[in-house]
């Protein structure tokens, strides 16, 4: 992971956006160093997509200062557009064209010289494992292939800053892992800056150098994955007991976070590492307690949200 802080590739100060009475973003500040991956983490309706749309010049903010790749988003939208690549939440490929034609279309729109455009298209097809499907219309592609083509199209013209709005939502686990590899390689090989939005902590954890948690239009936390997890408290361990007596005794004997008398379970704070597990097991042994089942929970998005906002990470999409 990169920790050296270069000049910011993207900065935003006090960005606000409301649709009528509904405030979508209320004062967002971001600072993303060049050559790093930044994740905007939050549930549906938190304002992630709106933030991306504003930064990519699709919509205007009501207030706020933003610079992307050294250009003012409001005053120099065309300079910003020339420096960025965007992969939106919904597939942005031309279904009637083949994969190759889609890439050539992008090359033409970037005004690449004639020889370069062919080279660029065939390089990207190879890199995204689309050579076999290059001459098929994109409507015939699977979800994972479409997403790969989508990202390949975003890379035509070598953008310096790349926006990925929920790049793996709806993908199967294998395609998801392929996508992660591709994104990670972009940063290490080409030094681009990536802003991605996601609903999944594991995705942010895997990809991002820094993570910002967006909740109801506000940033409620910012930091590295480790820092965030520390705030959450590092997970917990659930123990299930065979009878109420053991359950009750253990509840007094151990440092319990919460208890469930019906399920006969206890939750104790702790990491899933071997040392703290062994210590816990030793204590249980010394007290001659029988445990039916033991489960280790690493912190997930729900824990982060619970810890940061007091609300579970359910959909916050307002009814329309």
């Amino acid at each position: 992971m990169t920790t050296n802080l270069g000049p910011p590739a993207l900065s935003a100060t006090a960005v606000r956006k409301a649709y009528g009475d509904h405030v979508v973003l209320s004062g967002i500040d971001l600072d993303i160093p060049a050559g790093s991956v930044f994740a905007l983490l939050g549930p549906n309706g938190a304002g992630k997509t709106t933030m991306v749309q504003i930064l990519t010049t699709l919509i205007r903010a009501d207030a706020g200062e933003m610079r992307v790749a050294g250009h003012d988003v409001v005053r120099e939208p065309d300079a910003v557009r020339a420096a960025i690549g965007v992969t939106g939440q919904f597939s942005a490929v031309d279904g009637f064209l083949t994969g190759e034609e889609n890439l050539l279309l992008m090359a033409d729109l970037h005004h690449l010289p004639r020889r370069e455009r062919r080279q660029c298209a065939s390089d990207l097809l190879a890199r995204f494992d689309l050579v076999d499907a290059a001459r098929k219309p994109a409507v015939m592609y699977s979800g994972g292939m479409r997403r790969r083509l989508d990202l390949a199209m975003t890379l035509v013209g070598r953008p310096r800053v790349i926006f990925l709005d929920e790049p793996t939502t709806g993908l199967d686990p294998r395609s998801r892992r392929t996508m992660w590899e591709i994104i990670r390689r972009l940063v290490t090989d080409e030094g681009v800056t990536v802003l991605l939005t996601t609903q999944y902590l594991d995705e942010a954890d895997r990809l991002a150098d820094r993570i910002a948690v967006l909740h109801q239009g506000k940033l409620v936390a910012q930091g590295t994955a480790e820092e965030l997890k520390r705030q959450v408290g590092g997970g917990h361990i659930t123990l299930r007991f065979p009878d109420a007596r053991g359950h009750d005794y253990a509840a007094r004997y151990l440092d319990v976070v919460s208890r469930d008398d019906e399920a006969l379970t206890l939750q104790v704070a702790g990491q899933g590492d071997v040392r703290s597990l062994r210590a816990l097991l030793d204590r249980l042994d010394r007290a001659s307690l029988t445990v039916d089942e033991l489960q280790v929970h690493t912190p997930d998005l729900d824990d982060v949200f619970l810890a940061l906002t007091g609300n579970p990470a359910v959909d916050q999409e307002p009814a329309r």
């Binding site: 699709l58 557009r81 939106g88 009637f96 064209l97 034609e101 729109l109 219309p137």
Partner: protein, 263 residues
């Protein structure tokens, strides 16, 4: 490169995209020609005997009527093709590809000019098919080379105008189905003008509408060039209407395209 050359090359790129769609899915072109061909067959073979005699002329009957009705049917093709344009613009707007174009440093209007120029080519092709069928059915134009050039010129102006209008309507529509429906009245207009029967035979109110709506000067100009009937001031009126509709449609479409996408 300057903004103007960008606008030109980007429009050319978008035109190539449309032409590719057209070549890959020729059904779009054939559908645009299909409805007018059916009307041609119905009106000439089913109704043409009576209608032709009603119009009069040297021989009366079907032979007269096919020569009378072809200009109206050709313009009906402009209307059915405009409907196709509206559908393809509306489909584009519902797909993410337009959002991608908006985040790229390309001339904004290029997406729309690509659609308009692509439709122009497609509509001319559909009209050629319709005219071909008409010739097989006994259509005998008197036009010489110069008149045929005039025919193409007038048709290009008319298609250009109707296409910009349909692009604007498609951008206003909330869905693909709505975009398609909005263009349906355009197909009726050639009938409520001098396309299928002379306006003199219509009741007073309808005749007034028929005489003043744009399709009547369109049809009369086209008929004059093809069949040598008097054109009078219809040519001026047709060009005027085309300029007005083109400009209005273009400005309206540009305004709608540049507004912020609501989620």
């Amino acid at each position: 490169m300057s903004t103007a050359t960008h606008a030109f090359t980007d429009s050319a790129t978008m035109l190539r995209r449309q032409l590719r769609h057209m070549l890959r899915y020729p059904t779009l072109t054939l559908t645009a020609a299909g409805v007018p061909v059916i009307f041609l067959l119905l009106f000439v073979h089913v109704l043409g005997g009576i209608l032709g005699s009603g119009i009069g002329g040297p021989s009366g009957g079907r032979d007269t009527y096919v020569n009378y009705v072809v200009p109206g049917v050709i313009l009906m093709t402009a209307a059915t093709a405009a409907q196709g344009t509206a559908i393809s613009v509306a489909i584009d707007m519902t797909e993410g590809i337009v959002a991608r174009f908006r985040t790229m440093a390309i001339a904004r209007v290029a997406v729309l000019t690509g659609h308009v120029l692509g439709s122009l080519a497609q509509t001319l092709l559909s009209m050629a098919i319709v005219t071909g069928v008409a010739l097989l059915m006994g259509f005998e134009p008197t036009a010489g080379f110069g008149e045929w050039l005039g025919v193409i010129g007038v048709l290009v102006l008319i298609i250009f105008a109707l296409t910009w209008l349909s692009v604007a309507l498609a951008l206003m529509a909330k869905s693909v189905a709505a975009a398609s429906n909005m263009l349906t009245p355009l197909m009726i207009l050639p009938m409520m003008g001098s396309g299928f029967v002379p306006t003199d035979s219509m009741p007073a109110g309808l005749k007034w509408f028929a005489d003043y709506q744009p399709f009547t000067p369109f049809i009369e100009t086209l008929r004059g060039l093809l069949m040598g009937t008097p054109i009078g001031d219809n040519a001026m009126l047709a060009v005027g209407w085309c300029a007005l509709i083109s400009l209005g449609g273009y400005l309206w479409a540009r305004k709608l395209y540049n507004r912020e996408p609501t989620r």
